[in-house]
Symmetry: C2
DNA sequence: GCTTTTTCTTGATTTGAGTCAACGAATTTT
DNA sequence: AAAATTCGTTGACTCAAATCAAGAAAAAGC
């Protein structure tokens, strides 16, 4: 729980009371490997802080899993689009390994937003950060070739291939596993 | 100026005082056709409300203009990434037609955020909305073929081709102008 | 109006990634 | 440890979009 506080404190300085009431809204949940946190068709009603473990965020296109994101320790995992719009999610979120998360439900968060100015601010900062990360990812698709995307991803996250299988990385980069294989061969 | 208020009022209910102080921070600016609002290398210090006119948001890749977005009347135009991160922009923002905007500078906005809870909330809602739109666009690249992207864009914005030349639409969809030409031929 | 420039279309060719398929390598299961 | 399943590599082939190039059409300028 303290990791949550630490992570949040990098964004905003919360009053003691604000933290306590926020903490009282956090629900701990443990998941074994390959457990669903969210399924297609559900409305995502939570933001979850990843304490330990890892998650993948994917959707099915013609029965094939397309990975859109990964979430690791200290990340906030959610289908933020579904969370905001309250529309059914098109995605699955599934644990890659044994995981512990702290869930914060939207109905609680909305009350906190209204009551506590610093939590409202926290909400803005979270939204801004998420904007920055989607924007960066969109730019990678607009600006870069698959090979450039792969190199940049590996540069910024050198141990990713130890954490997730290569076919998920391929999917994340919007290419087929064979393409990653060939990129690796070319650059070795 | 009243259009600004109307647009904002759809997001949050501002107190009279909040609106007045916000309005006092808006700077009107008129631009002839093809004028820059932002250039590559500059830090984007503003969010501008488009009163009349249209803008294109692009970057140069090997000297070739790649259009990332369009902004029309009632949109907020900014390099929001640069605005948030305070890093130099990689983009140009240029008027497509004669335009009038109301600029709100970051230094002013930050003070407003601190002082007025509803403006802080407005900031969150703007960030959330921008997140949703980038996320949607990213999904279009992840899920859809160029042809599907084109059809969807035209569906949602039937008069876009009257407002901007086709080569900019091509660029926006991440394809070459010839491809749009061929898609149109196929579907006629 | 005509001229010039910009934008759009069409064809021929190239190319990078996808698809299909087969086969090793590595994990997991029992 | 052996068997089974999953994962990664490689090759042959296909295909959709990029590239190159030449004109046609439309818009802007005079």
């Amino acid at each position: 729980m303290n990791e949550v506080r630490e992570t949040l404190s990098k964004l905003v300085r919360l009053e003691e009371e604000e933290w306590l009431v926020l903490a009282s809204c956090l629900h701990e949940e443990s998941l074994p490997k390959k457990s669903p946190l969210l399924k297609e068709g559900e409305i995502c009603t939570f933001i979850a802080f990843v304490s330990t473990g890892a998650f993948r965020y994917y959707f099915l296109k013609d029965g094939i899993e397309k990975v859109t994101s990964f979430f690791f320790s200290k990340d906030f995992v959610s289908d933020y689009s579904s969370f905001l719009s309250e529309k059914p999610s098109m995605h699955y979120i599934e644990s890659i390994s044994t995981s512990v998360v702290y869930k914060l439900y939207k109905k609680d968060l909305m009350l906190l937003y209204d009551k506590y100015k610093n939590i409202e601010k926290l909400g803005r900062l979270i939204a801004e950060n998420l904007f920055l990360s989607v924007d960066k990812r969109l730019n990678a698709f607009l600006y870069l070739s698959p090979e450039e995307r792969y190199k940049e991803l590996m540069n910024r996250n050198p141990n990713l291939s130890q954490q997730v299988p290569q076919y998920m990385i391929a999917s994340y980069l919007g290419v087929e596993p064979e393409t990653i294989s060939r990129i690796r061969k070319r650059n070795s």
